[in-house]
Subunit: 218 residues, 2 copies
DNA sequence: CTCTAATAGAGAATACTTTATCGATATGGC
DNA sequence: GCCATATCGATAAAGTATTCTCTATTAGAG
């Protein structure tokens, strides 16, 4: 597993790491010091080899017959994901979804530090949502530049998304966590991660539909 | 593409279908009647062959040199996803995320019909959130059984998730759309779709971290 | 001290997904 | 009516991800 550290992990691997992270935290709370892939795999119902491969990408090395030290493993995952130093962010669109994200304490553990929110609604501007102050969108450029925020959480209605994405890029943002169903057109160096609730619902919905296609009774 | 209808589509395909669906809706609004995979692919920046394969899974057949009728394609996707007849659902956990989902009108278009919400907070019980009435959790069994709701949207704090999942299964729910980070232990016939914001954030976060590992300046 | 069993890590094999290639077919220009 | 071209549908190839197999290592029992 030499030079694996500098290699990029496959996306499925990265998506599983938070799962391991969460389980390891619960182990640490219970005072456990060592853990094996077998043990993790059993609890999370994934393949032991997959756990071993996934963890190897983070650069950790284990000991046969023992496994990995829980604390080291947590740190290794956190470093790999960039979760152990905070990254400043802004939230664009202080609607109900925006408020829900601002209220989700766990993200703070992941290093996400939302400094400010923006909304076009004049009634919201000047107020605070979950302790975060809401500004008018025209303040965005200024604030992003001055505070050097790297991440923008985009939770605006679809129509507003393309425009705001452009503005965010111009402001110097580096990554957009996009909760809108719009595919943003941004330069290649900008990191965009789309959260598609529709995609997720489609999977559920399709499986339910398939079940009834196979078995039309009930 | 014979018998493809009864075949199950790969999950990546299912996850892309809403993307096509959205684009096709915009085409229909603009009065367009026919569309080719090439055209869809260009706009959404995916591979034309992939679009063709994905669409084939829904059972649609196209015509060389022309493509597919937009209306038929929309219907084909909707049928395949089970989006063209409504499915009754309940929402468990009327917190801010729950409220955001209740307020997201688009899900209604996808056939998701949330009839009732449940929350342990006595202050919320009896009120309505976004027009949906909130009940105490002990009413769950009764209501799910009586209204024959198939889907439960689970938006409760992590601690409460395992218990509620068990109760939902006992109530006769068929699918759980799980917004908690907990891996639910349910019988195999229950459909569980996990929405992991942590997984999504991990991808963004890891890419940002990798960027700075490669290029520690800035 | 030796033997056994559990486990990491590497590499091979399998399965799955995406992309490329090719023949068939329908449309519109000539 | 015939030809050129765009596009579909099917199959093949390439690329990824997952699972299996094997060897080396270590802890603990006898």
């Amino acid at each position: 597993m030499t030079e694996q550290l500098s290699m990029h992990a496959p996306e499925p691997t990265v998506r599983r790491l938070p799962l391991y992270h969460r389980f390891l935290q619960s182990l640490r709370e219970r005072g456990r010091e060592q853990v094996s892939c077998t043990h993790i795999a059993e609890h999370l119902n994934v393949h032991p080899t997959q756990v071993r491969k996934d963890l190897a990408f983070t650069g950790i090395v284990g000991r046969p017959r023992v496994g990995y030290p829980v604390a080291d493993l947590l740190e290794s995952i956190e470093t790999f994901l960039g979760w152990n130093n905070t990254t400043d962010a802004i939230l664009v669109g202080a609607g109900s979804l925006g408020a829900a994200i601002l209220g989700y304490e766990r993200f703070r553990e992941y290093g996400l530090n939302i400094l400010a929110a923006f909304d076009t609604d004049p009634a919201k501007v000047g107020t605070t949502v979950r302790g975060v102050q809401v500004f008018a969108p025209d303040r965005m450029y200024d604030l992003v530049a001055r505070l050097q925020t790297k991440i923008a959480v985009l939770t605006v209605p679809p129509d507003a998304a393309p425009d705001l994405a452009t503005q965010l890029v111009l402001s110097g943002i580096e990554a957009i966590w996009n909760f809108t169903p719009v595919r943003l057109e941004v330069p290649g160096e900008i990191i965009v991660e789309n959260v598609s609730l529709a995609a997720s619902f489609a999977v559920l919905s399709n499986r339910l539909a398939a079940k009834y296609r196979r078995n039309p009774k009930e």
